[in-house]
């Protein structure tokens, strides 16, 4: 009744092609962005930033990145953790080599470095497909982790092989290092998330995104209608790795502050991001956010309810958490194999017709 197209007249092609064609959607989007930008920074504290918002925002960027490659272009990748490590180590090397340059540029540069590495590891995708490509990207994962562990130049020859982010400021407010105020870390990541989501959304509905989707749906047919698979696949790898690299750089510099490659960017990370996009919804920007929220927030919520609320022993709660999260994943995949994004889409369809579905 309220959620409908009627009365929302489009008088130009731009209006017609906009991301949120319904007025109520648009308002909702503006409202969420406004609350996130203006209200949240004032009420946020250390716990909320470090336990909830930073992981959520950073994993959302990583999920958007992987979603471009896997969801939009159909190339399965198990190398996300390795590419995040490239972003993190790239950022670290740049931060320590050029301390006077603003950290924002380092993070973007880290994304570009990761994009280049992603293209190199994407080359096999021109010859191999499906599970075999997954194995090739798995090799990237292991190779990159091994490289960052093995070559001490990457961690500036520190005794422990750990990299730690020195303090860097933006407009003389620290955004990395221990003195960072919670709102600064949050806003810094949020701006990256907004920029990444905006770029991703517009790339995926442009010519480039259409060529990715053509390759995903049937690569031979796409080739016949004139889509260049070399260009489409490699751009998908480059753009995807760019986002994943930014996520890795933020993960290291802003969120954790010190990482160890095997622990922070191991194969589990690749799986975690892959689960996020499968649960959130392949080929959907909203799905990337929903999946990241599901995988990040649910364990924290369960922990707080079971241990903090009910006072259960921590180990019992930790085991139950695995079971509940695992059970919910299975449940969602059975009920809606296309992920939370599809559930959201269906809800919106139903809302449009409500209360007169016939």
């Amino acid at each position: 009744m309220f959620y409908r197209e009627a009365g929302d007249f489009k008088t130009s092609y731009e209006d017609d092609g906009q991301t949120f064609p319904l007025r109520i959607d648009r308002w909702g989007y503006y409202l969420i962005v406004a609350v996130a930008l203006v209200l949240v920074p004032f009420v946020i504290n250390d716990y909320w930033v470090n336990a909830v918002f930073l992981p959520l925002l950073i994993y959302a960027i990583a999920a958007i990145g992987l979603n471009i490659l896997t969801g939009y272009c159909g190339q399965v990748s198990l190398g996300t953790g390795g590419f995040m490590a490239v972003g993190a180590y790239g950022c670290y090397k740049l931060m320590t080599a050029f301390p006077d340059v603003n950290i924002t540029f380092h993070i973007i540069a880290a994304g570009i470095i990761t994009a280049a590495v992603g293209v190199v590891f994407g080359l096999p995708s021109l010859r191999i497909k499906g599970f075999y490509l997954a194995v090739a990207t798995l090799a990237a994962q292991f190779f990159l982790v091994w490289l960052f562990n093995r070559v001490s130049w990457f961690y500036n020859y520190s005794a422990s092989g750990q990299i730690s982010a020195p303090e860097r400021t933006v407009f003389s407010v620290p955004v990395t290092g221990p003195e960072t105020p919670p709102w600064a870390a949050y806003l810094f990541c949020l701006l990256f998330v907004i920029a990444c989501a905006w770029i991703a959304r517009n790339l995926t509905r442009g010519a480039m995104g259409r060529s990715w989707m053509a390759i995903r749906d049937m690569d031979i047919a796409a080739e016949i209608i004139g889509v260049n698979p070399l260009k489409a696949k490699l751009t998908a790898f480059a753009v995807s790795s760019f986002f994943v690299g930014i996520a890795g750089a933020l993960f290291f510099a802003v969120y954790l502050g010190a990482v160890e490659v095997g622990e922070a960017f191991g194969i589990q990370k690749s799986f975690l991001v892959l689960f996020m996009i499968i649960i959130g919804g392949l080929g959907s920007i909203f799905g990337s956010f929903a999946g990241a929220a599901f995988m990040v927030l649910l364990p924290v919520l369960l922990k707080n309810v079971l241990v903090g609320g009910l006072g259960w022993p921590t180990d019992l709660a930790a085991h139950l958490e695995f079971m509940i999260v695992g059970g919910l994943i299975v449940f969602f995949l059975i009920v809606e194999p296309h992920g939370l994004a599809q559930l959201w889409r269906l809800t919106k369809e139903k809302l449009r017709l409500w209360p007169f579905p016939h």
Partner: protein
């Protein structure tokens, strides 16, 4: 998602609870995950000792203690979450039992003015208290461990290791890499040949490393392992018939969990020790009366007397003594984390004090000062007897080679100070 957030807020609000006057000791433990077998005895002991203090003495200086457990599963992200969740409740000192989490917490806790005690792990150069104001790693650190192991080998070889081959099997992480620099220095000093064999997390796959050991036939193998990596390594060593008495683990590679699964073949395996093994100490009588018999034991209550349980007890005792010291210094019973730090820095563990607390002969005496946050670097060597199922100390407490270690600590801590713009204190 909004609903999730509201529920989350609710959960956090319930978790925060009312503020009580008590001494909060957060326990960032891991009873799940790949290192759970080692995390459980440590966590049980930490909780049991404070329960005992509450039951027997009504806490420390009349204020009840409260152990605040938080499950990290040895995962740094969860460690950060735990730190943020528990610091709001006034955690006095953090002991994460993970080098990775310790590295995370060093800058955070230093900026929040909360002390960290990484007992025998963490960042070695934190021993330099003039730069690491909030971090303590007494009574010994990894570099001490490396030096103690080499000193033991020197003793066995009549003071000469030249021409000998020593291999280091290590967990390929910050933890395992720590001793390398010291061992390289020591190898230059004593003329032995060092070879490095990294093992990736979690360490169940070590065939190739042990094949290499078999080929190179080193005289001695040192190990920096944790969790399942230890028992796998000892099993592999047994498989290639490597003489167990030439195989020495660091203190994190020398618990019952590591040798029992290997059975008879593990007989003679050596490991470093921070404390004496077994339960032959009067503190165990008090634990029995006030904790076990009342059914207050943490976890399954089956860990008492094991190596890691003893280490957990030791960590808890040192924390409790530091809190007592802090109360003394500031004349206030309900201390803050900053006061706790002063207590830790003024800590002086003497033989009399150990005996009084029921720890006679349990560990060597040591003291902490403003410059030295790492104690005296004493450790002993213990050996496993598979038939009796017991660890026995086979040496006295050996002091590490400070001549080699101190310059390394100065250099590394100075690098940290330069990176982070820290002015040395204690002048």
């Amino acid at each position: 998602m909004k609903k999730t957030l509201t529920m989350l807020a609710l959960g956090a609000a319930v978790a925060a609870g009312p503020a009580l006057a008590d001494l909060v000791f957060p326990s960032l433990d891991y009873r799940t995950g790949p290192y759970a077998a080692n995390g459980i005895p440590l966590a049980d002991a930490y909780a049991d000792y404070f329960t005992m203090l509450n039951e027997r003495d009504g806490g420390i200086g009349g204020v009840a203690t409260r152990v605040l457990p938080c499950e990290t599963a040895y995962n740094t992200e969860k460690g950060v979450e735990c730190y943020e969740a528990t610091k709001a409740e006034g955690g006095l000192v953090y002991q994460p039992y993970s080098t990775g989490i310790t590295y995370q917490l060093i800058p955070r806790a230093s900026s929040d003015s909360i002390p960290i005690h990484s007992m025998g792990y963490g960042r070695t150069s934190a021993k330099n208290g003039s730069i690491f104001e909030w971090v303590f790693n007494y009574p010994a650190n990894y570099w001490d461990g490396a030096s103690i192991a080499i000193k033991h080998l020197l003793e066995e070889n009549g003071g000469d290791l030249s021409g000998k081959k020593v291999a280091l099997v290590y967990h390929n992480s910050a933890y395992g890499k720590e001793p390398i620099r010291t061992l390289e220095e020591l190898s230059a000093k004593h003329g032995f040949e060092l070879s490095l064999l990294p093992v990736d997390h979690p360490g169940q796959e070590q065939k190739s490393q042990w094949l290499q050991i078999r080929r190179e036939a080193p005289d001695y193998v040192l190990m920096w392992g944790w969790g399942v990596m230890n028992q796998t390594a000892i099993q592999e060593a047994a498989n290639i018939r490597f003489p167990m008495e030439n195989f020495i683990g660091v203190w994190w590679s020398g618990s019952e969990n590591d040798v029992v699964p290997v059975g008879e073949a593990a007989d003679g395996y050596k490991a470093l020790a921070l404390t004496a093994p077994g339960s032959d100490f009067s503190v165990y009588d008090d634990l029995k009366t006030h904790v076990y018999d009342k059914g207050l034991a943490a976890g399954a209550g089956d860990q008492s007397g094991s190596v890691l349980y003893n280490r957990g007890l030791y960590a808890a005792m040192l924390a409790a003594e530091a809190a007592r010291k802090a109360q003394e210094i500031h004349g206030e019973a309900d201390i803050t984390p900053a006061m706790m730090r002063d207590g830790m820095e003024a800590l002086d563990i003497t033989e009399e004090l150990l005996a009084d607390r029921g720890f006679a002969g349990f560990a060597p005496a040591f003291s902490v000062s403003c410059e030295n946050h790492g104690g005296n670097g004493m450790g002993a060597v213990q050996q496993w007897n598979a038939t009796e199922g017991t660890w026995t100390l086979i040496t006295d407490y050996i002091e590490s080679d400070q001549e080699v270690i101190q310059p390394l600590i100065d250099a590394d801590s100075q690098a940290y100070a330069d990176e982070n713009g820290i002015e040395p204190r204690c002048n």
